[in-house]
């Protein structure tokens, strides 16, 4: 028997307008909130420019060293460590080292007061690993990086703030009273991108950070290894372990040893934001997230289930007639499930759209910029928020919600006794 599910779902909704509105509102609200949580979580994991390669990279934000007396040092790496391990790697497509925390610097042009802005020291590999959009000019090259050239790449909004124009390639600026030449202007970067965000990027070889270190191995640098393919992660880790073991032999002479803590991390693990002294607990993080999802699913599911059951009570005669004409129980249950699924999908689509609009409008209420100091708006947009995986999550949650809210009522309705149902009992 061919059933026009859409028509049935529509007619069923029209029969009980208020309850249908309540059901749709309940589903919409549940999917809305779940998708807000999903998208807020995805901001730290999913790729978006200029961190477009997140799925292919491994991150070494921190380094941990243990001493003979069991004390530890945890923090970023020195340039010596970067050179001995990161720059020696051959398996990745590209490797970059950069200052993890942005420096608050004074930037000025002659005749204008200085402006405080955020500067990141980077190497030439940074531009291969990240996906910046250059509006003018180009980044500095490897040779320029090695010679410590004082060139700077500047964001579009900072260029406008300082020069009132973006056509400023070749112009001179002073960063912390040191002359730099602008070599490129890039599209603004959201301050949600922890590794890419800054207002100005300069070769760290031109700053004091290159010589800043303690304990020989610790300093201001983090690194990212970009794999050609995700399949190369294992090989990259092996090379990474080999190089650290080699450096560890040298460190052991001075009574120091490296503590791995499972590094380097994929972006998903990195997004847990574990402290430098702790190993990220992926299981705990996932469990917490799923507990939140379950609460957000179970409460409306129980709610909707109660309403579905009440609605099916009113269709008992109809179910009785269908059963009397030979419709099997499973077909009745599947029909109810599909009918409800259509309503769930409709409400879920509204919920998804509302959640996107909500985060774009009020995202800054719930999103914390990766930069400690940044007061600028997050610059969140649909490109950052929406991915096909997001749509997949919305579909999955609609399906789960439908199964939880209509599963039992549809099963009970399918078991209806034909005689009692036709009697209207």
């Amino acid at each position: 028997m061919k059933i026009n599910y859409l028509r049935r779902a529509w007619l069923s909704m029209c029969q009980q307008p208020l309850v249908s509105v309540v059901s749709v509102a309940g589903t919409t609200f549940a999917i809305f909130l779940i998708m807000v949580v999903v998208m807020l979580n995805e901001v730290g994991i999913a790729p978006y420019p200029p961190e477009s390669n997140r799925e292919r990279w491994l991150v070494q934000r921190y380094l941990s060293i243990k001493y003979k007396d069991n004390n530890e040092s945890n923090g970023c790496m020195s340039y010596a460590t970067v050179k001995a391990v990161m720059y020696e790697m051959t398996t990745p497509e590209a490797v970059t080292a950069f200052t993890y925390g942005n420096n608050r610097v004074s930037v000025s042009v002659p005749g204008s007061p200085a402006t405080g802005c955020e500067m990141r020291g980077v190497d030439a590999g940074f531009w291969k690993v990240m996906d910046f959009t250059f509006l003018q000019g180009a980044p500095f090259t490897q040779d320029e990086f090695e010679s410590g050239v004082t060139k700077a790449v500047i964001s579009e909004s900072m260029a406008k703030k300082i020069f009132h124009s973006t056509g400023i390639v070749g112009r001179d600026i002073r960063i912390n009273y040191t002359p730099y030449r602008v070599c490129g202007v890039v599209k603004d970067v959201t301050n949600l991108a922890p590794f890419a965000f800054a207002d100005i990027w300069v070769p760290f070889s031109s700053t004091n950070s290159i010589s800043f270190s303690w304990n020989d191995y610790m300093g201001p640098f983090s690194a990212i290894m970009l794999a050609k393919d995700k399949k190369d992660f294992k090989e990259i880790r092996e090379e990474y372990d080999r190089l650290f073991a080699k450096l560890g032999d040298e460190a052991a002479i001075n009574g120091k040893s490296f503590v791995s803590r499972g590094r380097p991390y994929t972006q998903k693990v990195e997004a847990i934001k574990a402290g430098s002294w702790e190993t990220p607990d992926v299981r705990r993080s996932d469990t917490t997230l799923w507990i939140v999802f379950m609460i957000l699913l179970i409460v409306p599911a129980v709610n909707l289930s109660s309403m579905t059951q009440s609605r099916l009570q009113q269709s008992r005669e109809e179910i009785g007639v269908r059963r009397a004409f030979g419709t099997p129980r499973y077909a009745i249950a599947i029909d109810i499930l599909i009918e409800n699924m259509l309503v769930s999908l409709f409400a879920g689509a509204i919920g998804l759209i509302l959640s996107l609009l909500f985060i774009i409008t009020y995202g800054s209420w719930f999103l914390i910029p990766a930069s400690d100091e940044s007061l600028a708006p997050t610059g969140i947009n649909i490109g950052i928020l929406f991915h096909w995986t997001t749509f997949g999550w919305a579909l999955l949650f609609c399906f789960l919600l439908n199964l939880m809210s209509s599963g039992l009522p549809s099963f009970q309705a399918a078991r209806t006794d034909i005689v009692k149902a036709l009697e209207g009992k």
Binding site: F29, S106, G116, T150, Y177, V299, S305, S306, D372
Partner: protein, 417 residues
Amino acid sequence: MKRRLLTQIRAEWRSNIWLAIELTIISVVLFYIVDFLWVRFTVINEPLGFNVDHCYRVQFATLPSGSPEYIPDRTAEESNRDILTILDRLGARPEVESVAMGTNAHFYNSSNSGELLTVDTFNTGGAGMFLNRMVSPDFPKVFRIYGAHGESPEKLASLLENPLTFLISDDAFKPVYGIGSMREFIGKDFSTYGGDTIRLVGTYSPVRYDDYVPRDYTRSMMRSMPKSEYYAFNELVVRVHDNMDNDFAENLMKDADSQYRVGNYFISAVDSFKDIRFVHQRSNVMVTRFYFTGGAFLAMNIFLGLLGTFWFRTRRRIPEIAIRMVNGATRGDILRRVVGEGELILLLVTPLAIVFDYQIVHLQLNQPYENAYFDPARFAICVLLTLSFMALMILAGVILPAVKAMRLQPAVALKSE
């Protein structure tokens, strides 16, 4: 009436069981949220002990060695003279009321310094971090910190002039020794962890770490450094006169090049404490918003669930309601009956919900306040608040079907019968 309602609830157990499950789950999760928010707002409303209105942080740095203006081989003495010049020039600005320096000392700061002080058989350990604020004497004036016995910030500043003396928060020995005031220790010599001997010359009212860290983490000390070592400080803070902080940061940055480029020092940025406070606390604010949103989600679910279920229920009961009205039930009776049914289901699930609530507290899954996860008064308040809120939402959900039932015309309703 209650007994008849119970019979009615029992008769519709199949649909009521769903409502009961929903209300139990919501009640437990809502209790957790209410308890969290209760602790949050209690902490936020505790006195801070300092004031950051009209205060600014002036970020200063030294020139990189690559700068053409960099002066190599600058001695510590010369650097100190440079920093004192900046301090004097800042203090001379007409807008500035007071100016001070410090190391990891200002409020809403993620960098801290700790200390372990010992006197006789007492020490400041054993109860979390004891903060050491190394500051210049005017620090209490900038943040308007008062003495434990009403001493003015100016008086505290004068007590801080001697680097061999220090001030301590009045609660320093309270958590471990139960000593409520440090007054009896004034004049005594304390030993620092590094082996220095310093004399306590005064006590001040406890100052909080920020708006979200409770007052049981306020134990601290303030100590000054010799004026010849000010170059070792890493913070510079100013208080501006109440009516003179319009565009203070912008004006100061305009003068940064001409007046505050001294030796190898320069000013890189000026931030208001309003912004510093916002940035420092935004993760806490965000978490609070999440909890509020969670509470709103649950409330909305109660409302929708009750509205949907009771809408069906009253429709199905039209003949029954009509018969009641014919037999003398007033419209008020009908309204009370429908509303009462919803509220009674809540009342019936409440004992079970309280058992779960207690488990949350017993397993210490909630937020501690004053080192306690369970406090009978707090527990009772949070349970009552949860129940009241749920009762209100039930009323909101049931009122529409109840009014509909109340307005029923018995003659019309019974015509088909």
